[in-house]
């Protein structure tokens, strides 16, 4: 068990992979800060690039995961400075982040956001390391019946947790499964919904579907909001450049609790950063908002959703890697990236990865 972990650190700390992690995080921050390009689009854009560069699977995963976490942070800049959430997960950040910026504390707010993102992500990564193998241990015994039950659970938890309209989410899930039935039925070889078109025999590719869906809906949303003018265009002064240790320590409780909460929410299928941010913010508000400062620029009100949404980003890797169920929209795209590499995530991958022979071990399963 532990030698695999050490070996994993060895892989992660190789100069190439460290460089890629840095590059990914940097690009991710850029993508996150730009309106309209979130982690999903960023990964979708760089995925084919990583593939054609001939990066090995683990390096590509490192690059893309770097973009994911970087973009989670980059989306915060516009929410703190301009009161415009860069993506859905950043909505809660505006509540206390923007008031802080208005008080002239934009710099410390950005710094605190980075620190709490780091704390949240670290908590979640420790959780991922401990929890994923356990889950995989169980998942490897799953048969068709268990997988069916799991999918039903995933879809219903998605319907309840995501958005305010469970019926529509459930409809979306049903439509998704229907799209997956297009093509040759794997069990019997019967053609379903191909209408005699040879292009449809293989089914509708997951990557094509998901990129098209997210990109086109993004264009339409942007067009709809292009002419809205309720945006603070005035850039507040940055103030001090970094957050002080005292302020960080002031928020340590909020960060710890929210990181843990965010991780758990991230593990649940279908619930991503936006739910994690909202739940942790309201929890923290209930726990520590004694003098009604939340919503008027309380540091803890910024630290809580920030720690939570990064923790949920890492947490959503757990079901993706062990069960093959993406925990968020972004991990859905990452799942597509792994499939490009012929890695079908799931219990099998986690198990065979370190054990299936010494050399091309790691994540490479059946290339």
């Amino acid at each position: 068990m532990f030698d695999f972990l050490i070996e994993g650190f060895g892989v992660a700390l190789s100069p190439l992979n460290l460089g890629l992690a840095f590059l990914g995080a940097l690009l991710g921050i850029l993508f996150g800060a730009l309106p309209g390009i979130g982690p999903i689009n960023g990964i979708a854009i760089l995925m084919p690039l990583a593939y054609t560069l001939g990066l090995p699977a683990e390096s590509a995963l490192i690059l893309l995961a770097g973009i994911y976490t970087g973009a989670e942070y980059g989306g915060r800049m516009s929410s703190i400075l301009l009161n415009v959430p860069g993506d859905a997960g950043a909505v809660m950040t505006t509540l206390d982040g923007h008031p802080l910026a208005k008080k002239g504390l934009a710099g410390p707010a950005l710094g605190l956001s980075a620190v709490s993102s780091f704390v949240g992500a670290t908590i979640a990564i420790i959780g991922l390391t401990l929890f994923a193998p356990l889950l995989a241990e169980v998942a490897v015994m799953f048969g068709p019946a268990e997988f069916f039950a799991l999918m039903v659970f995933a879809f219903s938890s998605m319907a309840v947790m995501m958005g305010k309209d469970p019926v529509k989410t459930a409809i979306g899930a049903v439509l998704g499964v229907l799209i997956a039935t297009v093509g040759v039925d794997a069990g019997t070889g019967v053609m379903r919904y191909t209408f005699g078109m040879a292009e449809l025999y293989d089914g509708i590719d997951f990557v094509v579907m998901i990129i098209g869906l997210f990109a086109i809906s993004e264009i339409l949303l942007m067009l709809e909001h292009a002419h809205r003018k309720d945006v603070d265009t005035e850039m507040p002064p940055l103030g001090r450049v970094f957050v002080s240790l005292k302020e960080v320590l002031y928020c340590k409780g909020a960060m710890g609790r929210s990181g843990l909460l965010g991780f758990i929410i991230g593990v649940l299928p279908g619930t991503g950063a936006s739910v994690a941010g909202a739940v942790s913010y309201t929890t923290e508000k209930r726990l520590s908002d004694k003098d009604g400062t939340f919503g008027h620029g309380d540091m803890r009100g910024l630290a809580a959703p920030e720690a939570a949404n990064n923790a949920s980003a890492a947490g959503s890797f757990v079901p993706m890697l062990t069960l093959g169920i993406p925990g968020s929209g972004t991990t859905a795209v990452l799942l597509g990236a792994l499939m490009l590499y012929n890695i079908t995530p799931g219990a099998d991958a986690v198990h065979r990865a370190p054990r299936g022979g010494r050399r091309p071990d790691r994540l490479v399963v059946h290339r």
Partner: protein, 149 residues
Amino acid sequence: MKLAADRLLGIVLIGLAAFVAVQAINLEVPFSYEPVGPRAFPLGLSILLAALSLVLVLKPGTDGHWPHQALALRLLLVLGLLLAYAMLFTRLGFMPTSLLVVAALARLFGASWGKALITGALMAVGSDFLFTAGLGIALPTGYWLAAIL
């Protein structure tokens, strides 16, 4: 009374569910695979879809407001443009089609003609370079263009 967007969506989805169900029933399946074969899964899904859509028709959400006419037209134009792009670029060539579509999209987002055309040209040339040189994917140049050049 204005038709609530959710109601309309529900009705359309019930139609889709019916279509899926009919297609599933008409599947020619060897007898040995029945009763629970390739037919059963889409049939079950279509029933589920119809039931959920019925809920949507009976209890539509409150915030389903229609975009005003000018915006609706532009949204439809975007979808039309993207469809035209997908249909045309194999025949007209990647670069010219991208130029036209990106320029038109930029116009829809409120750019001036000059800016829109420059954006289109840069996007067309840039992405063509990225695909051919970076990714090694050959893109259609368009026969009519090849004939002129």
